[in-house]
């Protein structure tokens, strides 16, 4: 059972780190998507939404190809940290951030879009610069979007399987997250252990979605969770 406890801990840590790193990156991106008149917007939106439709194995495969130590990016990481990105926790974090990007960006995007232009104008006439308006008008009004985005990103990262398997493998304490542990229990016909982990995940998924619907009070589009 200690192996499973380790997997739970690792999964929670991965989801937490991913959520915390993704939030400050996704916020300005979502703000830009919501307010810029730029024509490049649709293309960027499509790129952001891609993880929703791509099979996780495709994403994992490309990340494996791009981030392995023989490539430029992978080599850069190795020379900076002495470790490879593939089959490591750090690599999983990067993969999860890409995989969960739409789950953070989309709720923020709709929250920012709901900030009325009239209110932004009023703030401008009260001496608030664009930066000031972003931090003191936009962000406070998007609180629900932040809650929704954070919960969905966390939950989605917890449920990640294909990407992890492709570029993380199954290293206890490093990349062996819950979904992989369940998979292995089933492979070794240890159905009881698989059951307890699977039921735990089921309850967790329900609780996090309930949290979103209960407190964020808005309909959330979950295309694939």
């Amino acid at each position: 059972m200690t192996g499973d406890v380790q997997a739970i801990w690792l999964t929670g840590l991965l989801a937490l780190v991913t959520t915390l790193l993704l939030m400050p990156l996704a916020t300005p991106l979502a703000w830009w998507l919501a307010r810029s008149p730029s024509r490049a917007k649709s293309a960027i939106e499509a790129v952001v939404a891609m993880p929703l439709v791509l099979p996780p194995t495709v994403l994992g495969f490309y990340l494996l190809v791009i981030l392995n130590p023989d490539t430029f990016l992978g080599g850069l990481w190795v020379s900076a940290t002495g470790e490879a990105l593939t089959f490591s926790f750090a690599g999983l974090v990067i993969a999860s951030m890409i995989y969960s990007l739409p789950f953070m960006v989309q709720p923020l995007h709709s929250a920012f879009r709901a900030v009325p232009e009239s209110v932004m104008e009023a703030a401008a006439t009260l001496g608030a610069s664009p930066r000031d308006r972003f931090f003191n008008v936009g962000i406070p009004l998007a609180r629900r979007g932040f809650l929704t985005g954070a919960v969905l990103t966390f939950a989605h990262t917890v449920g990640e399987f294909g990407v992890v398997l492709m570029m993380g493998g199954n290293i206890p304490g490093e990349t062996r997250v819950l979904s992989i542990a369940i998979y292995e229990h089933v492979e070794t016909l240890n159905y009881d252990a698989a059951h307890s982990l699977a039921l735990g995940l089921l309850c967790f998924a329900f609780l996090s979605l309930w949290l979103v619907y209960r407190f964020a009070g808005e309909r959330v589009e979950v295309i694939r969770g």
Partner: protein, 307 residues
Amino acid sequence: MSRRLVIEGQLERADFALQLALDIELSSPVGLMGATGAGKTTLLRVIAGLEPSFRGRITFCDEVWSDTGDASARFVPPHQRGVGVAFQDSRLLPARTVRGNLLFAMRRAREGGLTVTFEDVVQGLYLANLLDQPTESLSGGERQRVALARALLFKPRFLLLDEPLSANDTERRLTMLAQLDTWFSSEPIPVLYVSHAQEELRRLTQQLIIMEQGAVRSRGATEALLNGVTDVDGESSDHSVDEEAIVLVAGGDQLSVVLQRAAGTALAEQPDLAPGDRVLIRRVPPDISGRDFTLQPQSDKDESETD
């Protein structure tokens, strides 16, 4: 430093065009009136810097705010103009209390400008009981008072007030009007005051601009211009009659009645009429009149105008 606002240029929209050549001396408050859709609100937006598609030149106190000329293109963004606006539709910051809205303005207040204090404004505009309420729970009249207070507390260099009291009841409106008058005369700050209510314009402003269809129709001393506005003809038929109208509201502000006419509403000075009376109205010569403007509802709800 000359206290004047010079605007020359135009704004083109699909269904509306604003054509301006204005040179306003701002040493005393200036009134602005005109029918719904005449461009009053758009003019305020142009001055505040909220209409980036305005082509032309705006200078305020010798400072160029906007110039779309090829050689000297310049645009000062709204937050750097120091213009305080009380929007007709209030535009309070959601998810903040009344106090939060006032603090937002005070934290960004300019040096100099009006010296009214938080206490002055809270008392003068009846906000004491509202301070800790969320803005969502306020009535239209209350929202307007907060918007006005917020604009004042920003200590602007130039105050643009777009029907700031229209949703408040008559008694309160008159008291607040007196209050505004005191503030504006103790420290003469440039004010542009949009209103349909003649008694407000008479009380607060010495100069008046009347707009029609996106341009200035007439301007001059407030008293002189408003005295030209008498266009109701009760019975007699020795004038050229334009149309028939029904009195909707009477006795609202002692001086005027609101008329329902075929093409909307109109305001006229004729105190001895009752709601339901049928009258004939006459068009008065355009150079002296401020007639044919609609009156905003005096009820407690927000009414947004699309001009």
